[in-house]
């Protein structure tokens, strides 16, 4: 009896401390992010609610991210637990094969948990789910209500959406706008902006290993761009330039691509006095994605479970999602928060609803745009193709007489140069 009692006590002594240790075990997570405000706020918020988790943050510019990450990998140390991927290098990052597949144990993210486009955007070529979206970017067109009333006759989002329900209609409407305004108001800003709109829709799995079918995927894009450009429907305000930033307030452009983040950083920042003068409508045919950051877990991390807890709380379905939305307007890619009864996304007015003439923007983004938006599956060569597209569209900017065939040829040459081993159609 005594022996059994002692054995029992010893067993208990071993189990109980172990149980309490795992509950209070100190974990240190490392996250690299370029968005200092979001990073600092959300990690501090999380640490307050989880005192046993210490998060070390590092601000790394998106342009340096890939290089720093690869250097850390090569040197064998210092790789962060939570990794962020921007659209520009996402395919490459996924292809490195050092990120956890979140559809597997113990994460078990199911396809129906997220919006379709969020799932494909975070997937590799064989269906592995490498990342969840930091915030989803289903996008439509933002427009100035005064310009719309003058040149389209209405500023109602639904009516405008009907007027431009496909790209041919948009083309005709655009020509009328140019005539009426004498060229002072263009339909879109520069070539590079239209390029970003067009390449993020009508997605297909056009990259199969080293075989890249550019023709089927991008011929339509090039044709639309040249058509619009040669008809004078595009302005000269290129992506990222000060000219683009100034055009919002100056009323030189009718439609701007608008993702949820564009509300604050595109329109709000650049036209601070324009409250009430803006509206959001959907793009022709289907929605498109515009920008986006993917959040992943490093396979070599020693704190994968803790990392997953953080990601769930802040980016998936936890309380952090509400916090991020309230502070930064970030919208999660998971459906559950929107489907809740009295979801805070829809019951409370968003930060920019008044700016956009009282539209319920969150509702519009999710229920009108997101359902038609598709996401491009990420493969190893996707990043290089995007680089080539940027290069070619810059060429088209400098050379407005370029035809669609010439643009496609230039694209094929660029991609071949960047990926010597590829077979290109």
């Amino acid at each position: 009896m005594k022996k059994q009692l002692i054995a029992l006590m010893m067993a208990a002594a071993m189990v109980i401390p172990a149980a309490s240790v795992s509950a209070e075990e100190e974990v240190t997570l490392t996250i690299w992010d370029w968005d200092e405000a979001h990073l600092t706020h959300m990690t501090e918020w999380y640490m307050e609610n989880h005192p046993n988790v210490k998060i070390e943050t590092l601000v790394v510019a998106a342009a340096d991210y890939m290089q720093k990450f690869q250097s850390a990998l090569a040197s064998g140390s210092g790789v962060p637990d939570i990794v962020l991927s921007e659209m520009g290098y996402r395919g490459r990052m996924f292809d490195l094969g050092v990120l956890e597949d979140l559809s597997q144990e113990p994460y078990n993210v199911k396809e129906e948990d997220m919006f379709d486009f969020a799932t494909t955007l975070g997937s590799g070529p064989n269906g592995e789910l490498y990342g969840v979206e930091q915030q989803i970017c289903p996008s439509g067109f933002a427009y100035r209500r005064d310009l719309a009333k003058e040149y389209l006759g209405t500023d109602d989002p639904a009516e405008i959406a009907e007027m431009i329900s496909d790209w041919d209609k948009l083309y005709e409407v655009g020509q009328q706008v140019i005539e009426k305004s004498g060229g002072a108001v263009t339909v879109f800003p520069g070539v590079t902006v239209l390029k970003d709109i067009l390449i993020n829709r009508n997605v297909s799995d056009y990259i199969n290993g080293d075989e890249i079918d550019l023709t089927s995927r991008y011929t339509g894009v090039m044709e639309t761009i040249t058509k619009f450009n040669q008809a004078g429907l595009l302005g000269k305000q290129e992506d990222g330039t000060p000219a683009l930033a100034n055009s919002y307030a100056a009323g030189e452009v009718l439609f701007y691509p608008c993702a949820p983040w564009s509300l604050k950083w595109g329109i709000g920042t650049n036209d601070p006095d324009g409250s009430g003068n803006w509206g959001l409508t959907k793009a022709p045919e289907n929605g498109f994605t515009y920008g986006g950051t993917s959040v992943s877990i490093y396979s070599g991390s020693e704190n994968k479970e803790a990392a997953w807890e953080y990601i769930q709380e802040v980016y998936c379905t936890g309380a952090g999602v509400e916090e991020a939305y309230k502070q930064f307007g970030f919208m999660t890619g998971f459906k559950a928060p929107y489907e809740q009864e009295d979801s805070y996304f829809f019951t409370e007015a968003g930060q920019y609803d008044e700016f956009f003439g009282g539209q319920n923007l969150a509702d519009y983004f999710i229920n009108t745009i997101a359902i038609t938006t598709e996401g491009q599956r990420q493969t190893k060569h996707e990043s290089n193709v995007r680089t080539a597209l940027a290069n070619v569209s810059a060429q088209m900017t400098g050379n407005p007489d370029m035809t669609a065939e010439e643009a496609m040829e230039a694209l094929k040459t660029e991609v071949q140069t960047l990926i010597p081993t590829a077979t290109i159609k």
Binding site: W34, D35, E36, A37, H38, E56, T57, L58, V59, V60, A61, A62, D64, Q67, K68, S71, A72, A74, S75, G76, S77, G78, P242, A243, A245, N246, W261, K264, W265, G266, T269, N270, G291, T293
Partner: protein
């Protein structure tokens, strides 16, 4: 009379050329300072030539993102790099220029040869080495990278050759001075302009270095200024007003340092001024 007039117009012309040149050189930095007084979006609305009134806000933003810490880090690294680099490079500069010995040609060729290897090559290997030495959590790797600065060694060789007459050293030897004594007390003081030039070059190289710190530094507290500036941008917008404010502030010490060092040039000139 004619000669005097010639001289005067010559001098005036010279001043004119210098003024134009200096304005062109100064313009970009002037823009940096001007922009630091603007609200970021306003910068692109026109052509900012005159200062605006947003400086205090920009300053507040910059300080709140850890500028002072980054400044201190940059200062520590750069000053230490200068000390180490000057000590090492003057030493080998002296050895190679004022002595004849068997290995002289070989070592000199070696110095020149390694100058030709692009430094980016060694980044990964250096990182691996620093990791195995356990130094990646410190600022030391940023300092050690300047210890054996081939250009610095080459520069010192040239300065010693050009400016330290052998006779000076011989007479010191005859007087019984030891070799290190000659080095420290006689030869080195002769090339003070050269040393201060080297100091400025190393300080600047270290202060403005971006690529190496990006790869090596993994702790926010150890950020140098070029890295800290990244925190002023987020995913969608770069706060150019604040960025220029931070960069303008970071340039100030260099301006001070260079102005101080240029005193040494002036001293040298008054000692042996060109007349006529």
């Amino acid at each position: 009379m004619n000669k005097k007039l010639q001289k005067k117009t010559g001098a005036a012309l010279k001043q004119l050329v210098l003024i134009v040149l200096t304005l062109i050189m100064f313009f970009p930095l002037y823009i940096v300072f001007i922009m630091s007084t603007y609200y970021s979006e306003d910068i692109f609305k026109g052509m900012p030539i005159l200062p605006a009134n947003y400086f205090l806000e920009n300053l507040k933003m910059v300080l709140s993102k850890g500028f002072l810490q980054a400044f201190a880090n940059s200062l520590i690294v750069s000053v230490a790099s200068v000390v180490v680099s000057v000590a090492v490079c003057t030493s080998i500069g002296f050895g190679l220029s004022k002595y004849n010995f068997k290995a002289k040609k070989a070592i000199f060729a070696f110095v020149i040869a390694v100058m030709m290897i692009p430094n980016q090559v060694s980044m990964i290997g250096y990182m691996i080495e620093m990791r195995s030495l356990g130094l990646l959590t410190t600022l030391l790797p940023l300092i050690f990278t300047w210890a054996a600065y081939p250009l610095g060694a080459f520069l010192m060789v040239q300065f010693f050759s050009d400016s330290v007459p052998d006779e000076l050293l011989e007479s010191a030897r005859i007087d019984g001075c030891s070799e290190p004594g000659i080095f420290l007390k006689i030869a080195a003081p002769c090339i003070k302009p050269g040393i201060s030039t080297l100091a400025v070059l190393v300080f600047l190289g270290s202060w403005n270095n971006y690529t190496l710190p990006v790869i090596l530094i993994n702790k926010q507290e150890l950020f140098t200024i070029p890295l800290m500036v990244n925190s002023l941008s987020n995913a969608f917008r770069s706060d150019y007003g604040a960025i220029m404010c931070a960069l303008g502030l970071s340039v100030l010490p260099m301006i001070i340092l260079f102005s101080l060092c240029s005193k040494t040039f002036i001293k040298g000139i008054s000692a042996g001024a060109v007349k006529g």
